[in-house]
């Protein structure tokens, strides 16, 4: 449930994650630099070919990403009909649609671990100011682990409050929930420290 990755072995899947992200950024920049209908239409066709034909993604995987924005795109086209003209509206809407689809293709063909590695690589220059890129993976893992924990604690507190006759008090739920999970996070931090997570690694990895 927690990932939009669709496994595969296509050339798109095998392209390096950093390259795909760079291509996405280049596409975004290019489409805004050249707001012309033929450029945008070509890009849209290219993205659809890469996603549906080369990477063989199911159409609904792409649709799932377009669904949340399509109403917005339709509304946007309406606004453009009123304040500019149909051509500008078409270019603007197709440009956004192309970018959303391209991003969906990258997301569906790239493993989470590969994306984490790219983020760590991008953060590497920040090492000089004390940022530790290797911690990104740990933080992502902790976040994903905390999600069911927070949901489960919330359900438990709601049950306890219902048993005491309280009902529908959302704020009354939030305060005990936050205090409980803050304590939990603090304990987790101590446990990680006890296992050596706080050790500052040497500049070059050394074996003891």
């Amino acid at each position: 449930m927690l990932s939009l990755y669709a496994p595969g072995t296509s050339p798109v899947h095998r392209t390096r994650a950093g390259l795909k992200l760079a291509a996405l950024a280049a596409l975004g920049t290019g489409l805004f630099a050249l707001p012309r209908i033929e450029v945008v239409a070509a890009a849209l066709v290219g993205v659809l070919v890469a996603g549906l034909v080369v990477a063989r993604l199911p159409a609904r995987a792409l649709w799932a990403q377009v669904r949340p924005v399509w109403l917005l795109l339709a509304a946007l086209f309406g606004v453009h009909l009123l304040v500019t003209d149909a051509l500008t509206g078409t270019v603007t809407v197709l440009r956004l649609l192309t970018l959303v689809l391209a991003a969906a293709v990258v997301t569906a063909t790239t493993r989470v671990t590969a994306l984490v590695a790219v983020v760590e690589w991008l953060l590497r220059p920040l090492e000089v100011v004390g940022v530790r890129p290797a911690r990104v993976g740990l933080m992502v893992a902790m976040t994903l682990r905390f999600i069911p924990v927070v949901a489960e604690r919330a359900a438990r507190i709601r049950e306890a409050q219902a048993a005491r006759g309280a009902s529908g008090m959302r704020l009354g739920l939030l305060v005990p929930l936050l205090i409980q999970v803050l304590q939990l996070a603090s304990t987790l931090g101590e446990a990680l420290d006890a296992r050596g997570a706080d050790d500052v690694p040497a500049r070059r990895p050394r074996r003891a």
């Binding site: 939009l4 304040v83 933080m139 902790m142 976040t143 704020l171």
Partner: protein, 188 residues
């Protein structure tokens, strides 16, 4: 930054994710629903402070970008960062940082009124100041159009700011996470 701080940051990234799974309130005529997710932005800033609150939202956005469908609409991946309303997403870490920064300034005398000032300024003014011009520039529509579209969200946001402030004051009393620089002498 200590390991406990990393855990707090990950915790609030998760809280924002959980708040996004609560049922959203649809607004008639506008294709974006009212969600509890910005409540998480406000809570992160007012409980963790500027640095950790801002980082919690950056982490949340990073996890979404990596393909976890954690936004209120059940969407995620890189697509949401290039959509016409992406400016609101980009505003979240800034908003949490500003709320946290103000909360730290008000920390000694923090009551409902001061917490409300922090949450209204950071959680509403900052978010709209980034989101509205972004949509306007990015989707090529006049500023007035994207501003009008946002008006429907103001009442809901005020309710969330009040809720976040009440919770922030209560949590400060029971489990203060923000430490003032002067009192950190004993901490490692």
């Amino acid at each position: 930054m200590k390991t406990r701080d990393l855990a707090y940051i990950a915790l609030f990234a998760a809280i924002v994710a959980v708040l996004g799974q609560l049922p959203a309130v649809p607004v008639p005529g506008i294709p974006v629903p009212i969600t509890a997710q910005t409540l998480g932005v406000m809570l992160a800033g007012s409980v963790l402070g500027a640095k950790r609150g801002g980082l919690a939202l950056l982490l949340f956005l990073a996890v979404v970008a990596m393909g976890a469908p954690l936004l209120a609409s059940g969407s995620g991946g890189l697509g949401v960062f290039v959509g016409p309303t992406a400016g609101y997403l980009y505003s979240w870490p800034v908003a949490a940082f500003v709320i946290g920064w103000l909360t730290e300034r008000f920390w000694r005398r923090l009551n409902l009124a001061w917490a409300l000032v922090a949450n209204l300024l950071g959680g509403i003014v900052v978010i709209y100041a980034i989101g509205i011009p972004f949509t306007s520039l990015y989707a090529d529509v006049p500023l007035s159009v994207s501003a009008t579209g946002s008006l429907a969200f103001i009442p809901g946001d005020v309710v969330k700011a009040v809720a976040a402030s009440v919770v922030a004051v209560a949590v400060r009393r029971a489990y203060p996470v923000i430490e003032l620089p002067g009192r950190r002498a004993t901490a490692g």
